[in-house]
């Protein structure tokens, strides 16, 4: 499944990194501890977090992740948006909580 497909199905807003919407999704990871994501996330995953710091994009890029979903309508920092556009890794935004958006994404990726 591509990033563009989950946007429609989960009602996400594209904040930045629109050039990366064709990225293929291999799964997802949920964590707000950046060192944990650095150690445990995998290539192609979508990362669900409430952290808006620019280091989020550095780690997403390091791990070559497919996209980042920010929960609860949290706003990304200016630098975070800049890096998202530069790395072409989309930042997507949801008004839902982490629990809700993770549940929906899990169901979608597992065809339930």
């Amino acid at each position: 499944m591509k990033v563009s497909e989950i946007i429609d199905q989960l009602g996400l807003k594209v904040v930045s990194g629109g050039k990366g919407l064709d990225r293929e999704i291999s799964g997802a990871y949920v964590s707000d501890l950046l060192s944990d994501v650095m150690g445990n996330a995998h290539e192609g995953q979508v990362w669900i977090t409430l952290q808006v710091h620019q280091n989020v994009m550095a780690i997403a890029s390091l791990k070559d992740m497919a996209a980042v979903i920010l929960v609860k309508d949290l706003k990304a920092n200016e630098n975070t948006i800049h890096h998202s556009n530069e790395e072409q890794i989309p930042i997507l935004s949801s008004s839902l909580s982490t629990f809700e958006i993770a549940g929906k994404l899990y169901a979608l990726l597992n065809g339930q």
């Binding site: 501890l33 950046l34 060192s35 650095m38 710091h53 620019q54 280091n55 550095a58 780690i59 630098n79």
Partner: protein
Amino acid sequence: MMRKFRADLHLHTVLSPCADLAMSPDQILTIARQKQLDIIAITDHNSTKQCKVIREMAADHGIVVLNGCEVNSREEVHSLCLFENDHSRAEFQAFIDQYLPNIPNRPDYFGYQVVVDRENMILEEIPWYLGNGLQVSLEEIADYTHRLNGIFIPAHIDRPINSLFSQLGFLPKELKIDALQISKQASEMSIRKMFDIHSDITLIKASDAHYLEDIGTACSVFELVNPTFEEIRWALHRQHGRSVKIET
């Protein structure tokens, strides 16, 4: 002439919810003198309100006290913010008051948060839980501290919680720091290697004392002419012949 000054720049008082109620101004100064400390910083969680009385009392003890606090950012990174005078301290206190969430403290869970005077009489009990993250980013806290001519030092960077590296993975390029503080048990060499910290960045050690017996158990030694705020900053940046080393 350059002299050595022993410093413990991370101490809590009765005001911190998690600190012992024995951490009163007079006791802290008594122990600091016993431990032969020349410079201490008062760094309660998200509050500077206990600094003034300790600073005034310290004159009798011959100890230099820096006004400060241990601020928790939106990313839940703890940092030491130190200020030269009561004016900048008060300005920073207003900044904290603006961004600390109004979540009532539960003393039975978190401990009491009281401001006391010279005689240990309670002047004020802080109603909001001081351990929370301020609703403002780490970079903004660093920038505001520097705008007030303060010193900004991310705290206990080697700890697995509430540290720069646990929360943000690595040192953000834009973050302006004066030094980094490592914990009592940490070794400077292994921490530099583990987190890839450039040799230009000064590391200091401090006790993060929550109990009287912890005061002065981890120190840094400054080489200064006089123990002024400006010289301490020079030492952290290795300027004008001033320097600082972790005491081994």
